[in-house]
């Protein structure tokens, strides 16, 4: 067995909150640069220039890329041979790190304690933590701060199995068109197909953690990702919804077994500030 101290988890989460909010992955930067080269709209090209300039400034100064430093979403993979020590749960340790990181990093606190009474919790907790067990002696945490503008444009549909592949494609494209300028295009589109009502949404969010230069390992879904990207970029929405040929930087699809009566499809929208960063213990 391997022992990991929860205080160490808190400390790494504190740093992760600050770093992930000021730095885009090289895959996102490359996708933005490529889009800048091929974008047909002059306004769109100017917007992509500003987005790239913003990324440079944010990284240089460790300044937040966006004022919406998001809901703190974590994906935790806990090894079967790991013992967590130091009191409380993994979630408690993560929440302590989030509270410290958002305070020390001058990040915006965007969480209200109740959806209807709406009083700010003051420290951006609680985080959402998705915990899965994996073989081995490691703990891996991926932090993905999720902004409200793009999250609000996400949708889920319980399609009929007869709707099939066409139904899924139509729902994804329709979601992007309805969202228009609101999720801050160019977007990344996470698509979860199958599972249950709740699990499809989880898959859609998990898909957003993948690199933009990756493809689903199943050739069928890899082809679907490429087809959806082309369809989405034909909508004309473009950078910031002002028209153009770059509506999305990528479409990432995850699929899962589902019930004979069901075809759940979830679309999780992600703005161009596609932030996520991992830490391994």
């Amino acid at each position: 067995m391997r022992t990991i101290q929860l205080s160490e988890v808190t400390d790494r989460v504190r740093k992760l909150c600050q770093q992930a909010n000021s730095e885009l992955g090289d895959d996102v930067i490359n996708a933005l640069r490529k889009a800048r080269e091929v974008e047909e709209s002059p306004t769109g090209r100017r917007i992509l220039d500003q987005i790239l300039e913003n990324a440079r400034i944010a990284k240089d100064r460790t300044a937040p890329l966006c004022q919406d430093t998001g809901f703190a979403v974590f994906f935790a993979e806990l090894g079967t041979e790991v013992v967590l020590e130091g009191g409380g749960t993994l979630k408690d340790a993560i929440n302590r790190g989030v509270a410290q990181g958002y305070k020390e990093g001058f990040l915006r606190k965007s969480i209200v304690s109740d959806p209807l009474n709406r009083v700010n919790t003051g420290d951006n907790t609680p985080a959402v933590v998705h915990l899965t067990q994996v073989p081995g002696g490691r703990l891996t945490l991926t932090f993905a701060p999720k902004g409200g503008g793009s999250e609000n444009m996400s949708r889920l549909a319980m399609l009929k199995p007869a709707d099939g592949l066409e139904g899924v494609k139509n729902f994804v494209v329709e979601t992007v068109e309805k969202a228009g300028a609101n999720p801050c295009p160019p977007i990344v589109v996470g698509v979860g197909i199958g599972g249950t009502f709740d699990y499809s949404a989880y898959l859609a969010k998990k898909a957003l953690l993948r690199r933009l230069d990756s493809r689903n390992p199943d050739p069928f879904y890899a082809k679907l990702e490429e087809e959806l990207l082309e369809l989405v970029n034909r909508t004309g929405v473009g950078p910031q919804g002002l028209g153009g040929t770059t509506t999305a930087l990528g479409v990432l699809v995850e699929a899962h077994p589902c019930h004979i009566a069901s075809l759940p499809v979830a679309v999780n929208m992600q703005c161009h500030s596609a932030r996520h960063m991992s830490a391994s213990f």
Binding site: P64, L65, Q67, F106, G149, G236, L242
Partner: protein
Amino acid sequence: MSQVISLSPPLSDEDVMRLRIGDEISLNGVIYTARDAAHKRLVELIDKGQELPFDIRGAIVYYVGPTPAKPGEVIGSAGPTTSYRMDSYTPALLAQGLKGMIGKGNRGPEVLEAMKKEKAVYFTAVGGAGALIADWITSCGVIAYEDLGAEAIHRLEVKDFQVVVANDAYGGDLFKEGIARYRKD
């Protein structure tokens, strides 16, 4: 693209009426921040017939909730938030003399109608460019609703703050026109 037009609030009806969608604007001078919670309070004051915390006649409101400033900084990251959430409050503010709004994303039909009636303009700034936009803000102070934190009303002084006219007072809509131009059926 036309050349960049320089504008300083307060804006007159004439200032507004010479703007058309797609115009690139450089804003200089004083603007005010307000987003969801501040809009709710402003409209409550209007409904009660009470005075607003700033002179809204000719003013420009920026939909933003910045990150906290680090020591020595004027403001933290300060990009626009999504505008449609303010739509239900906007006609009441336009009726009081508000002339300009800065945000991201399109507006609802009731706002576009009110903009035509009251002669007002909607600008869009690049969403998610908060670190860059912070460099265009030269001073920042809270003038009302400090309890709302990032949602408090701030008075900002801005220099060469770059926006585009997305909706003008003639009913023009850059979102609709731009998307139609690049759509491939």
